[in-house]
């Protein structure tokens, strides 16, 4: 009897001790968790939300929003719509003088030129009948385009930025039209980005594999020296490395000058190596190479030389021993390197923008363009979300094909 009681008390104490241990462990990782949450999860969630949610119009002009939702596109627009639009738009200015122009900027993105038609509405005295007053301000108010544009931007939840990310546009009636030929760009750039990333990954793998092999199988002193040479550019600023490539590759650059001096090429037939796809691939491969070498090296140093020796003693040719025994053992490192390089390459934009000329325009440049120049953050978010989804898809595919648990980063 007393034994049973003791055992019960023991279990309770054990559970208590375990719980205390768990709490202590949690407190240890809590700062990191909070950091990741604050600096990574929340901003990303915020950006992804911006891509489809924006209540600027619907919260400042709720009546206009509901009336526009039921308006079927017929002209002239009903007087009640004009009235609620004018009164709410003017009220917005009283609440915050910047609001009308912020709304007008949104409308302007759907129908270029609206900005200068909307702002006078907030700045001028208008009286009933409001539709007539608007028409007197500007002829455009008697045409459907501007009303349609307001209708498109009014709902708080809208898929229009995702639609625009894949070169289509949303119409006011909910249908979709293809983007005009001269403005189509996103799909082509998604394609080019994938192509560049894949090519850079391939080059990194081809160049990095022998280097990793060399590093792993040389005596420690030599390999440490070589490792420093591999890591040295890694510690140099990205911009410095990129600019160095410009100095090397340009028309009157080091490489061309040397080739001319050696008499290998004529002075007026210098090959163009700068501001094209070639420069992009060379510079990106160089910048990303360490990300391939490091995981390969760490996997290769762990492969016991006995395996290859055993294969050879059992009669395998050097190639078979390499291909059937050694190479499969490097797959976790190769996979990790490829995944790292590919994901980093997909988001690259500074290097291609500086050395790539026209072909250096990748999807990330468009995201930066909308973040910095047009301030169209929802569109930038939508393109970014699609890119993120693409990376996650690749990650999932990789996991299915190779297995993420086998991966070794460094």
């Amino acid at each position: 009897m007393s034994l049973a009681i003791d055992r019960g008390a023991l279990t309770v104490r054990l559970a208590k001790a375990e719980r205390r241990g768990k709490i202590r462990a949690f407190l240890l990782v809590a700062p990191l968790l909070a950091f990741v949450l604050l600096s990574f999860v929340i901003p990303i969630a915020n950006l992804v939300t911006q891509a489809f949610y924006g209540d600027l119009v619907s919260s400042t002009m709720p009546k206009t929003t509901t009336e526009l939702a039921t308006w079927n596109g017929a002209m002239p627009v009903p007087e009640s719509l004009c009235e609620s639009f004018v009164t709410e738009f003017k009220a917005a200015k009283v609440k915050d003088p910047a609001l009308p122009t912020r709304i007008a900027t949104l409308v302007n993105r759907e129908f270029s030129g609206s900005l200068s038609k909307l702002r006078p509405v907030a700045n001028n005295e208008l009286s009933a009948p409001y539709c007539g007053a608007l028409a007197k301000l500007n002829d455009e108010w008697t045409k459907p385009e501007i009303w349609n544009a307001i209708k498109i931007v009014s709902p708080s939840v809208s898929p229009r930025f995702f639609i625009q990310s894949v070169d289509y546009r949303l119409n006011a009636d909910g249908s979709i039209r293809p983007e005009t030929e001269e403005n189509k760009i996103h799909l082509a750039l998604f394609g080019r980005t994938l192509y560049v990333a894949a090519a850079v990954t391939l080059f990194c793998a081809l160049l990095g594999f022998p280097i990793g092999f060399l590093l792993a199988h040389l005596p420690a002193r030599t390999s440490n020296l070589l490792m420093i040479i591999v890591l040295l550019p890694f510690w140099t600023s990205l911009l410095v490395r990129t600019t160095a490539w410009i100095a090397l590759l340009q028309q009157n650059g080091v490489i061309n000058d040397t080739l001319v001096a050696l008499g290998l090429i004529a002075d007026d037939h210098r090959p163009v190596m700068m501001y094209n796809m070639f420069a992009t691939l060379v510079a990106m491969t160089h910048v990303l190479l360490p990300f391939m070498i490091l995981p390969l090296y760490s996997v290769m140093t762990g492969i016991k030389p006995n395996f290859v020796r055993a294969a050879r003693s059992l009669g395998a040719t050097p190639f078979t021993a390499f291909w059937r025994v050694y190479f499969p053992l490097t797959i976790p490192g190769l996979g990790a390197g490829c995944l790292l390089v590919f994901i980093l390459a997909i988001g690259y934009y500074i290097t291609p923008a500086l050395v790539g000329g026209q072909s250096g325009q990748l999807i990330s440049n468009i995201i930066a363009f909308h973040m910095q120049k047009t301030l169209n953050w929802p569109l930038a978010s939508a393109i970014g979300t699609l890119l993120l989804a693409g990376v996650l898809l690749l990650y999932w595919l990789y996991n299915r094909l190779v297995g993420i648990e086998k991966m070794k980063f460094a």
């Binding site: 915050d96 003088p97 910047a98 609001l99 122009t101 912020r102 007008a104 900027t105 302007n108 993105r109 270029s112 030129g113 900005l115 200068s116 001269e182 403005n183 189509k184 760009i185 082509a188 750039l189 080019r192 340009q250 028309q251 009157n252 650059g253 700068m274 501001y275 923008a353 000329g357 026209q358 325009q361 468009i366 363009f369 973040m371 910095q372 120049k373 047009t374 301030l375 169209n376 953050w377």
Partner: protein, 362 residues
């Protein structure tokens, strides 16, 4: 509670002095474009203002664009007080509620007594920003590359047969579309009228298409002189000051074609929600007054935004180069010039730039 009356008075006085000192010795952060340009502002605006008021300025650089300002305003954590922006960005930032409104009528009078609203050149005052200088987008070339005939007009930039070699252009629709139309024969006065139509935009892009394969695109103002110096291009668009400095200081063979120059203002804007609004306003008012604006021209050939500054513009810092002939606003350079139409660009910036970016990407 036995503090003597004398001591408490002393303490009170000390506290009062401490408070006033804190109120006076303020600090603001001023953001500009870096290089020779920021240097000219430090010498002509910042150092005299700090000396006069006893406040300090933290000077930092940026690369244009409103993204950082928008992030600061939206997060309510404003660390930039005064920012140097182009007029189109001053307007779109004002529209977006990123900048404080500035009442230009409260700025100091000109040295000649003219009221501020009359003294500033047209277009220099907008709702949220006050222009300090006008610079010009010009075409420049390396004279050693064209031993025979020299290019003299915008159309020559697009003439690859007569003036062979690569061209440098800014990776932006603004400025390039105007150059293209002028080269295609549109009179400078009609450029924006033509550009407002679909046909006009098509025409500009068609003209650009004729040299597209020979263009090297640049993004930062420091690039065009480098492209010219390295021989990567023979002709390039550039900010006039960026070509002037290497030409005069380092004797580079750079020549500016003033035909078709496009003038743009650089402006001071105050970031919305700054805690140092009064100080920031004081700095803006001081630096855009007659003398500091004229002083800036000692360091860089950008035209002061006030008419009253013109008589005070002297020589370059080397003491011998007369600045007047290098100013975009010099009458000889103004024979065929346009002032960038900021209203047009506020309406069409997004649309035309999206098309431009798509066009480059193809």
């Amino acid at each position: 509670m036995k503090i003597s009356k004398g001591l408490s008075v002393l303490l009170g006085a000390a506290a009062a002095i401490g408070l006033t000192a804190a109120a006076h010795a303020g600090q603001i952060t001023v953001i500009s474009w870096g290089g020779a340009y920021t240097n000219s502002q430090v010498k002509a605006y910042q150092e005299p203002w700090m000396k006069k008021t006893g406040n300090t300025i933290v000077s930092a650089d940026y690369n244009g664009g409103l993204a950082e300002i928008k992030a600061q305003v939206q997060s309510g954590n404003v660390t930039w007080d005064v920012v140097d922006v182009e007029t189109s960005e001053a307007i779109s930032g004002c529209n977006d509620g990123l900048f404080e409104k500035i009442d230009a009528s409260k700025l100091p009078k000109g040295e000649n007594g003219a009221g501020p609203l009359e003294d500033f050149v047209p277009g220099a005052i907008t709702d949220c920003a006050i222009a300090n200088i006008a610079y010009a987008n010009v075409i420049g070339y390396d004279s050693t590359k064209f031993p025979g005939d020299k290019p003299t007009k915008v159309a020559d930039f697009f003439d690859l047969k007569k003036f062979p070699g690569k061209r440098g252009m800014k990776k932006e629709a603004k400025v390039n579309l105007e150059f293209a139309l002028m080269a295609d024969g549109v009179a400078s006065a009609d450029v924006y009228k033509v550009l407002a139509t679909k046909e006009g935009v098509d025409r500009a892009f068609k003209k650009l298409e004729t040299i597209k394969s020979s263009v090297v695109w640049w993004e930062a103002g420091a690039q065009p002189p480098q492209l010219l110096a390295s021989g990567e291009v023979t002709m390039t668009t550039a900010y006039n000051g960026r070509l002037f400095t290497p030409a005069v200081k380092e004797n580079k063979p750079f020549v500016i074609i003033w035909d078709g120059q496009q003038q743009v203002f650089d402006n001071w804007a105050i970031v919305k929600g700054t805690k140092n609004k009064d100080l920031a306003l004081d700095f803006v008012a001081f630096s855009t007054s007659t003398k500091p604006l004229a002083d800036q021209a000692t360091y860089i050939p950008y035209g002061p935004a006030r008419k009253s500054s013109a008589p005070f513009v002297g020589k370059f810092e080397d003491g011998k180069t007369d600045m007047a002939p290098h100013m975009p606003t010099n009458p000889d350079n103004m024979k065929n010039a346009i002032v960038q139409d900021v209203k047009f660009w506020a309406d069409h910036y997004d649309e035309l730039n999206e098309r431009f970016v798509a066009w480059i990407g193809k």
